[in-house]
Amino acid sequence: MPAFAYHRPASLDEALDLLSRFGEDAKILAGGQSLLPLMALRLSHPANLVDISRVPGLNEIVEDVEGGLAIGATVTHTRAEEAEAVHRLTPLVAAALPLVGHRAIRNRGTVVGSLAHADPAAELPAVALALGARFIAVKSGGQRRVAAADFFSGFLTTDLAPDELLLAVGFPPQKPRTGVSVKEISRRSGDFAIVGLAATVSLDEAGLIASSALSFFGAASTAVRVTEAEEALAGQSPGPEAFEEAARIVSQSLDPPEDANGTTAYRKHVAGVLTRNALADAIDQIGFAA
């Protein structure tokens, strides 16, 4: 591992001071499960690591009055996975968490860290995009909110400035008559997905599709929603015909990259398969709930 200076601030102000002092020369260390492998392989050479694990107030899962949920910067995947509120208020997040790596990784890795790392094949960025999550970024003397749609700007890059810290991610309340599903295929259990889908479907009172989110991972340089397919679903009766059409649009509109785990053609095809399966799964859940 390359050498670096290590900083473990004891307060948020101290952390933000360090970030503003070092700017691009610093990396934030929370769980370290994405950053430390890169450093161990000497693919990342940060001069400073700012370990935020002891900053008070960040290790919290907070329900808001409208029924939304905020997850703080140092909450681990395991803690979120075991939190009752996550299952109750954000079932899509709860469905995605067990798919993140393996237990030992989830015990250290953080939800917010995974979002800030923005791996296009990771589950949580796609979940955040599907749910329209809001990101709370903070720096010395300022705080701002960024919509998920604006947050993921490219391969392993986000809208965060070097001196900003991602304080928390907020998930809005789930709409009534909503079903969710996360489907992915990966070469082995626990691997990053070859391609995956975080989906939500909401029905109107008449039982027709009111809105949906089809948010893919492993299908582009960032997590990506296929809005044409979402639009095509709107107003449709939920069933094989509508799902098939959505799947067709998905396969047509995605242009995923190619690697040893899957060709472009394969990823396009499987994205369609996942669309069908996830939509059916999500609708089933609504039936269950009703």
């Binding site: 591992m1 390359p2 050498a3 670096f4 200076a5 290590y6 900083h7 473990r8 601030p9 004891a10 307060s11 101290e14 260390l29 370290g32 499960q33 430390l36 492998p37 161990a40 392989l41 001069a47 690591l49 370990d51 694990s53 002891r54 395991t78 790596g101 393996h102 237990r103 030992a104 990784i105 015990n107 250290r108 082995r188 259990s189 626990g190």
Partner: protein, 192 residues
């Protein structure tokens, strides 16, 4: 390497800083014993255990967080010790494979842990380079879930790679451990 300019400063507020390639002092509990050491910031917990504490039972298979050979227990959770800096483990409680069996003051084994006994009975391992990681993973898992299904065992140990066995014997070993530990609990309950 230990020149004064390259040592850590610790503020009154509990923050900790080490300059580039410098050192910091950490305090932690390893296998029930408190230790204080000055460590280089880039030293991984795995290297700290192996090189500084001579606890070489923790093995390094990939050093990038995939194989699970270096798994240890940190505050009751299984973690990859190659993906944690020693400085991050400051203040924590660590258990390694050396701490699994009951030992006397000289480190001689008095009695092995039921998971160790079970793995021996089930012929769980072959070269056993990966064994410490599997045992620590199983230890945490069975604490949380003392009566798992075979599918749950498969899922839970799937973060640890073994190249020798094809896993069947390791799964059998975890199942044997479940039986032994359940019997021990029943016995304990009767004694009490």
């Amino acid at each position: 390497m230990n020149s004064p300019s390259a040592t850590a400063t610790q503020s009154a507020m509990g923050s900790l800083h080490s300059p580039i390639d410098g050192t910091a002092t950490i305090e932690l509990e390893v296998n029930g014993v408190g230790v204080t050491r000055r460590v280089n910031a880039r030293l991984s917990l795995a290297d700290f255990l192996r090189e500084r504490l001579d606890l070489t039972g923790t093995h390094l298979g990939c050093e990038h967080g995939v194989c699970g050979a270096c798994t240890v227990v940190l505050n009751d959770e299984a973690v990859r010790s190659c993906l944690i800096l020693a400085v991050q483990a400051d203040g924590s409680r660590i258990t390694t494979i050396e701490g699994l069996a009951e030992t006397d003051h000289d480190g001689q084994i008095i009695s092995i842990h039921p998971i160790q006994r079970a793995m021996q009975e089930a012929h769980g391992f072959q070269c056993a380079f990966c064994a410490p990681g599997f045992l620590m993973t199983a230890l945490c898992f069975l604490e949380r879930n003392p009566a798992p299904t075979r599918a749950q065992i498969r899922e839970e140990i799937s973060g640890n790679l073994c190249r020798c066995t094809g896993y069947q014997s390791i799964i059998a070993g975890v199942e044997t451990a479940v039986e032994i530990m359940a019997a021990d609990r029943r016995e304990g309950a009767q004694d009490a």
